[in-house]
């Protein structure tokens, strides 16, 4: 894990915990856990999450990239941001 990844992972986790997890007391969210399966993030929450990633990391998210594979978990987002950054 690189230092950059650590930051991203930590920041995404902090963001998800702060914005969504307070609505799910008792849920221990692991980095690989699927947001939608657990019902952690609803449709509009998903919009906010993608916006957050876009603005915080300055990445241009394309329509086709809005998938569970890229945004479905803390792991997924971390990997996505890393890939976008290394491609930039």
């Amino acid at each position: 894990m690189t230092e950059v990844t650590g930051d991203v992972r930590g920041e995404i986790r902090a963001y998800v915990e702060e914005n969504f997890l307070y609505l799910h007391p008792g849920v221990e969210l692991r980095d690989e856990d699927d947001f939608l399966t657990l019902g952690i993030v609803d449709s509009l929450g998903f919009v906010e999450l993608v916006e957050e990633v876009q603005s915080r990391y300055g990445v241009q998210v394309e329509d086709v990239e809005i998938t569970e594979q890229n945004f479905g978990s803390i792991d997924a987002i971390t990997g996505y941001v890393e890939r976008k950054r290394s491609a930039a």
């Binding site: 007391p25 609803d42 929450g45 906010e48 916006e51 998210v61 809005i66």
Partner: protein, 659 residues
């Protein structure tokens, strides 16, 4: 404009306590501050509180057709009453007043409910036929005026303009109906006949309910919105709107208009100015926060039209302070604070000596003004030309400001894909999904119970048989009339906050002739590509400066989180969010609410979802505290002398009219 209430028993020998009627009268006294009247009949009692608009000196209610005969208690206005009266006079009907109430009663006596089709107006009434022991409750086409009722176990019926009149009777104690609350947090209001109270029902808009000797014997629509054009419109829209405004300026008291700064209210105001002989007064809400404020537009319109203009500055402190009162009047959980500034505005209107205001309500529903209609178009376009649909989507919600520019692909997908597969309710699923956030704060057991009674299934089950034959835009328009206009806009944001101060709103666009015309218009005369309300804009171009006639839509909104967490926020906010208050209500999960409150206090609460959740929780708490479980000692009696008191219980019936 008035408030009405009453009790009818199946058994003539069952007494109606005058004290109960006096409590009911007091509970709705704000609707009719000029005085009240009551009728005591064998096994029945009716009350009316009156805001005198037509025939101020006479026109008191309850109104008897003849001694011992039919009785009417009536809330609202029938604007074409002079024409109907002339017709009746020509047929030999006698009249004692010049009030529209008497016209309605004579028509009912003569032709029954088939005469409702002839009424142009906004009304809710109870028609008592003592010989048949029959009570007919009727509500106007669009549901401008409210009417609630509760059937008791013994077959008695209690009714009132507001649910609090029913609770004041002592026959029903307010208890939450979870299914109704679920609807309020799905569609912004419980849909008639459902309410947020167990055992209390509403007469649906355009509906009637007939009770006879202890049973509901009929419950049906006498009018329903339909989108079957049947030919091109016969009349000219401008002439029709002028006539609608002219009819709605009829009053024996001064009239004003609400001016939001947008197209609809500007058009109503311009037409009103041309149709009235008096100096027209206009009233607007202004906010310190430029995201909500439309002051400059309002002043430009008032100046261009030449009205005497009044502005109410709605500060966040005002909003927080008035919120409990608004909830008490609205009698429902809310997801928006937007009714509050309208409550403050009506207070100012009343203070200025005005009791009747015309507004632009209804134009967006009839002429497809909301962004929601454009979403429908873009969802269809997205199938054939996704790129173009996405480009056009950028034009929507421009009022959301710079943040909207960042609204990237997830936002686009949310708007374009949500509901795209749902031919019935697809147009409304973005709103439903956004609103559903409130329900994420329910206690788990409450969430489980509400999940079992999906409000959208009930809605699907009640769609008109022709629904799927209508175009997607017409379906969206029907849903907008039935799920937002009546349950929320005309109610919590309309009748309740205006009548809280005895102010009557009048809605020229909600004239049924204007609706019929709008249905007959070719679709592109309503929404042409992304240009909304085309036919209205053409009329506006003839009576308003071009900048106003072409102005885009800015939806009316009010600050939602700031009022309740400002440094000088009122103490009730903490009180209703306390552990004990949350436990008392029993709906909300304390840990989740605490998380939301923490975020609100820290200024980190995000956008629409959490704003709605906060307002939903606060309003539910206030609603519960104010209304649920309250006994009759919560409802004081009317202590003034009645202006009319008809007592038919004694051997020689008496009628007293106090001059």
């Amino acid at each position: 404009m008035c408030g009405i209430a009453g009790i009818v028993h199946p058994d003539v020998a069952e007494p109606v306590a005058e004290q109960a009627l006096l409590r009911m009268a007091r509970a709705i006294a704000h609707r009719g501050p000029d005085g009240f009247g009551l009728l005591l009949d064998a096994g029945a009692g009716l009350v009316s509180s009156r805001l005198a608009i037509f025939d101020v000196a006479r026109g008191w209610q309850p109104l008897e057709a003849s001694p011992g005969g039919d009785v009417l208690v009536y809330n609202g206005e029938v604007y074409n009453h002079p024409e109907l009266r002339s017709d009746l006079v020509a047929k030999g009907e006698p009249f004692a007043t010049t009030c529209d109430t008497e016209v309605v009663l004579r028509l009912l006596e003569r032709d029954g409910v088939s005469s409702l089709d002839r009424l142009n107006g906004q009304f809710a009434f109870a028609w008592w036929q003592p010989q048949r022991r029959r009570l007919t409750l009727v509500r106007d086409r669009f549901g401008v005026r409210p009417l609630y009722h509760a059937l008791l176990e013994d077959g008695s019926l209690v009714f009132g303009s507001e649910a609090k009149a029913i609770f004041a009777s002592g026959a029903v104690v307010a208890e939450p109906d979870l299914a109704g609350i679920d609807e309020a947090f799905t569609l912004w209001g419980a849909r008639a006949p459902r309410t947020v109270f167990l055992g209390v029902r509403q007469v649906p808009p355009g509906g009637l309910v007939v009770w006879e000797r202890g049973r509901i014997v009929e419950e049906r629509a006498w009018w329903a919105p339909a989108y079957d054009p049947g030919g091109a419109p016969a009349d000219d829209l401008e002439a029709l709107l002028r006539d609608s405004v002219r009819l709605r300026l009829r009053a024996d008291v001064p009239v004003g208009t609400y001016l939001s700064g947008g197209l609809d209210s500007s058009l109503v105001t311009a037409l009103a100015q041309q149709e009235t002989d008096h100096e027209l007064r206009t009233f607007s809400i202004a906010f310190a926060d430029p995201r909500y404020d439309e002051r400059a537009h309002q002043e430009a319109v008032a100046s261009a039209i030449g009205t005497r203009h009044h502005v109410v500055d709605a500060s966040i402190a005002d909003i927080a302070r008035a919120f409990p009162e608004v909830v008490r009047h609205a009698e429902t959980p809310l997801v928006r604070t937007a009714p509050v500034p309208l409550y403050l505005l009506a207070r100012e209107v009343r203070a200025q000596g005005i009791t009747v205001v015309a507004t632009g309500e209804g134009a967006d529903e009839l002429f497809w003004g909301y962004e929601l209609f454009k979403e429908v178009v873009l969802r269809e376009l997205h199938v054939s030309d996704p790129q173009r649909a996405e480009e056009l989507l950028e034009q929507l919600y421009s009022y959301l400001g710079p943040r909207a520019a960042r609204r990237g692909p997830a936002w686009r997908r949310f708007l374009l894909e949500t509901g795209a597969e749902d031919a019935e309710l697809g147009s409304h699923l973005t709103r439903v999904e956004a609103t559903a956030t409130v329900k994420a704060f329910f206690r788990p057991e409450v969430a489980a119970e509400t999940r079992a009674q999906e409000p959208l299934d009930r809605l699907r089950g009640e769609l008109p048989s022709a629904f799927l034959r209508w175009s997607p835009l017409e379906r969206a328009a029907w849903l907008e009339l039935r799920t937002l206009l009546e349950p929320y806009l005309l109610s919590a944001q309309g009748d309740r906050v205006a009548m809280a101060h005895g102010v009557e709103g009048r809605f020229p666009f909600l004239d049924h002739r204007v609706f019929a015309h709008s249905v007959q218009l070719p679709p592109a005369r309503k929404l042409d590509g992304m240009r909304e309300k085309v036919a209205l804009r053409d009329v506006a171009a003839r009576v308003l400066p071009p900048a106003i006639a072409e102005r885009g839509k800015q939806p009316y909104r009010a600050p939602e989180i700031a009022p309740f967490f400002a440094p000088d926020a009122p103490g009730w906010v903490e009180d209703v969010l306390s552990s004990s208050a949350l436990a008392e209500t029993g709906l909300w999960d304390e840990t989740r609410v605490a998380g939301l409150v923490r975020r609100c206090r820290a200024g980190r609460a995000s956008g629409m979802r959490e704003s709605m959740a906060l307002v939903g929780i606060l309003s539910t708490q206030l609603w519960h505290r104010e209304l649920v479980g309250r006994g009759v000692d919560h409802y004081p009696r009317e202590t003034r002398e009645p202006r009319v008191r008809i007592d038919r219980r004694v051997e020689t019936p008496t009628e007293e009219v106090v001059a």
